[in-house]
Symmetry: C2
């Protein structure tokens, strides 16, 4: 999707980069045009309006965000192994795409009318898929808990704990740097080391 160098995908990539960093209100069409190295009028030629352009970009990012979130769970690993694998892959994903979570969360907060069915349609039913994955994980948990291997736990709590611990430090990067006086390199190391910290915390919470 980002390898074509025809004008349309050039615009898409530029728009994605600008929207990701500045959000809908902060992004300017002129800025997107400059980033793409083309003229403002061309943006409107390919995507009629700023709203439409944003819509396409947002749908793609939302898909990317949730697709990645759903990945490791459909394997044959134990719950603990799944959690561990999820932390590794999702932290790596976010280190490469640090703006995505803030962008998704801000956009969902900014356009609540887009909620529910509208987004379902634009994203091949991403929320339905998420719910089905969550249900499967809950079943796995119940099975392992019944076998006495782990403590029983609600998937909502486990999931929110996990993504909170992973995503928040990415969203709050500037704040964390300020409070702890970290530079870019310190910060990156901190996030990488947190992989193990988060694993320890969550695995421990499943011990009986």
């Amino acid at each position: 999707m980002e390898q074509d160098s025809n004008t349309e995908s050039l615009i898409f990539d530029a728009a994605k980069s600008v929207f990701l960093e500045k959000g809908f209100d902060g992004a300017k069409m002129q800025n997107i045009a400059d980033t793409a190295g083309i003229n403002k009028a061309l943006l409107h030629y390919y995507y009629r309006s700023k709203e439409k352009l944003f819509d396409v970009v947002f749908s793609q990012i939302l898909n990317q965000f949730f697709k990645k979130m759903g990945e490791v769970w459909e394997t044959e690993l134990s719950i603990e192994e799944k959690i561990s694998a999820f932390i590794d892959t999702y932290v790596d994903f976010l280190l490469k795409n640090p703006f995505i979570p803030r962008f998704v969360i801000n956009t969902l907060a900014r356009f609540p009318q887009n909620a529910g069915e509208v987004l379902e349609g634009k994203t091949n039913g991403i929320f339905t898929k998420m719910k089905s994955i969550l249900q499967k994980i809950q079943n796995d948990i119940d099975k392992e808990a019944a076998a006495g291997q782990i403590k029983p736990v609600k998937i909502q709590d486990l999931m929110v704990n996990t993504i909170s611990l992973i995503i928040f430090p990415i969203i709050a990067e500037p704040m964390i740097k300020m409070i702890f006086g970290l530079n870019q390199n310190d910060y990156k190391n901190f996030i990488i080391q947190r992989k193990q910290v988060i694993k320890d915390l969550l695995i421990r919470s499943l011990k009986k």
Copy 2:
């Protein structure tokens, strides 16, 4: 600060409410004037520009945010009791002020040049205070760990874990509602029940 009903504080309160919800780019002076029930020109009479008005509002909110964050730690409780008390008071604070964390984080991300010394000056050295509190907590931890009462832990990890678990679900409210299919009331109950979930998780992580 929000009890006077003279024009200046009327404007301040309106600006705070609008900026909190929409951020700098999304907020419009007209909207602020309407909310305050006065004319647009008066905004400029009291605060020369949108930037200046935003500056005053942001400083006040940043102070509020960090002051509340630093509170319970200066007591004579044990670490575990302090964590428990912090979770209770901070969750309650955020339920009453749900827009604050997203606003603070977005603003820090949007105006990185404001970092460090500028904000230090505008907030009575809030970051210096934070750092000194963190150092004190680290000392307490080291003492209790040396006495064999808890597992030793780095304050950075403990602090980031704690605020991640508390703040993320507030920032991501629309996302959580969507994924789990919660209405406003479900969501609020979920957050309240999480107090205990977070306490269990963190206290457990300190057991030897």
